[in-house]
């Protein structure tokens, strides 16, 4: 008896499609897209922290101007990011639906032995973060914030003022911080899970990776959280209106 016929003469389905549709293949897809999203989060955090450069956050205005220097690259990156997001969310939801089907009858008594609260709330934290992202993109990237049309000393779009003034609204800061907590929970499981899915996890490394992921996730979230906190406490200051210049011709469409 052999495991499977080497060549049965029948046309075999595409091996890569078989992989992508399999339980493990879908996990790989979620993990690879998740890794790319983590890379984006790192880049996004590094960009955000430039708001601490200069007395009125001019660092982030320069950074934003550099980002917008090449529309092709910017929209290429945005498009790529959107595709990665859709793949990550779509595949994850597909997995969730399959998992529901695999356990049609629930236990009357719910008990868990060693799973963390983070893994048990992955779908919830992911969907709340998604709703935040929609708001976040509309507010800051699409320029729907009521503070989107200010220009700094050099006539650049004053991104720093838009962020700081928005965060002066406690609802905006509060939703932002709440979303960070949920993203932190999502990453607390996700960052460590990557290693398991990629198969670079062993008995000895499991606890170390899980703990390292937890620490890294909350360091990242703390990095993001400093900005609303620094805005509310007045550490980050907004350029006085009297010193604003007229907009540069290119700065108007951001």
């Amino acid at each position: 008896m052999s495991v499977a016929p080497v060549s049965s003469g029948v046309r075999q389905p595409n091996p890569l499609l078989v992989f992508a549709r399999s339980s493990i293949g879908k996990k790989w897809i979620v993990a690879v897209s998740g890794t790319l999203l983590v890379a984006f989060i790192l880049a996004h955090l590094a960009g955000n922290l430039t708001i601490y450069i200069g007395p009125y956050g001019e660092g982030i205005n320069a950074y934003a101007k550099a980002l917008h220097a090449s529309p092709l690259v910017l929209w290429g990156a945005r498009g790529g990011l959107l595709v990665v997001f859709l793949i990550h969310i779509g595949t994850a939801l597909w997995l969730v639906l399959e998992n529901r089907r695999a356990r049609p009858q629930r236990y009357a008594v719910k008990a868990h032995v060693q799973s963390t609260v983070f893994v048990r709330t992955m779908a919830l934290s992911g969907l709340v973060v998604l709703s935040f992202l929609i708001f976040h993109v509309l507010q800051f990237a699409a320029g729907l914030s009521c503070h989107s049309h200010l220009y700094d000393i050099e006539g650049r779009h004053d991104v720093a003022a838009m962020i700081i003034l928005s965060f002066h609204n406690p609802w905006v800061s509060g939703f932002y911080l709440l979303s960070l907590v949920l993203l932190g929970m999502h990453l607390s499981h996700g960052l460590g899970s990557l290693f398991q899915t990629f198969g670079v996890n062993g008995r000895k490394t499991q606890a170390v990776i899980a703990r390292g992921a937890l620490v890294l996730a909350w360091i990242l979230m703390a990095g993001f959280a400093t900005i609303p906190v620094a805005s509310l406490t007045g550490y980050l200051k907004v350029l006085p209106d009297a010193r604003r210049a007229a907009p540069e011709p290119t700065a108007s469409k951001s």
Partner: protein
């Protein structure tokens, strides 16, 4: 000791089921959980009622036949099979919920008995080695390093009870499959078929309707044989590599 039992009763796979209350009286503390059920069943038979059906065989913790989800945990609290769970682990007067293993791919046969032949079909899809029969070869013909042998044994310890899938919130059988894929793939006798084995077994596992692993690691916590979840990582890697080499071969 006395216990209030809430036992899942179900006539067969087609009918619905519900919990029924039973009182377990004068149970010795040193009785195993299955012996406690035996005592309850004796009482039911004497009263002319249908005894509770449950799976059991060796009753010494090695066969993997006993199942039961006790207060939400397959095989009950603590590592080990249900037959190795003793009533002294409970407190006098406890209310104990007894449910069957709840996995879509394990349909209920009757009461607490579920059909776990899905595991047998996964094994048929590759959980073996193809070897000519004949006289046994010399003992030291195929040297295997101690660390490899030990690691393979950690996975081979699986008794196929299904508690991993029953504990998994996703009803995933990955710890079981990873154990089989892992121990055979680590040893020289299993290596030649390793790629086809992992592809075949994973395909069958998906086909049977088991869920996907989300790295809850509940399986590892309830496994009576202590198979580590690290084997699932190894299977994830093995499966991806086998799929890539299969795709490359398909183009040749």
């Amino acid at each position: 000791m006395n216990f209030h039992l809430k036992v899942w009763r179900q006539e067969n796979g087609q009918s619905g089921g519900q919990f029924r209350d039973y009182e377990a009286r004068d149970i010795p503390a040193e009785a195993s959980f299955l012996e406690m059920l035996d005592i309850v069943n004796e009482g039911l038979v004497l009263r002319g009622e249908e005894p509770v059906a449950f799976d059991h065989d060796c009753r010494e913790g090695i066969c993997g036949m006993c199942s039961l989800t006790i207060n939400g945990i397959p095989h009950g609290k603590g590592r080990g099979t249900t037959c190795q769970l003793y009533m002294r682990k409970f407190s006098d007067g406890d209310t104990i919920y007894i449910e069957p293993f709840r996995v879509g791919a394990f349909p209920v046969v009757k009461d607490l008995v579920v059909n776990r032949t899905a595991f047998d079909r996964i094994i048929s899809a590759g959980g073996f080695i193809s070897e000519r029969c004949g006289a046994a070869q010399d003992a030291n013909d195929t040297p295997i390093g101690k660390t490899v042998a030990d690691y393979a044994m950690d996975a081979a310890a699986c008794i196929g009870c299904g508690a991993c899938a029953a504990a998994c919130p996703n009803g995933s059988a990955m710890l079981f499959v990873a154990g089989k894929v892992g121990h055979l793939g680590l040893l020289p006798q299993g290596k030649p078929e390793a790629g086809r084995r992992v592809r075949g077994m994973v395909a069958k596992m998906d086909d049977e309707g088991f869920g996907n692993c989300s790295n809850f690691y509940e399986c590892e916590a309830v496994c009576p044989a202590g198979v580590p979840a690290a084997f699932i990582a190894k299977m994830n890697r093995d499966y991806a590599m086998a799929s890539v080499s299969n795709a490359v071969e398909a183009t040749a």
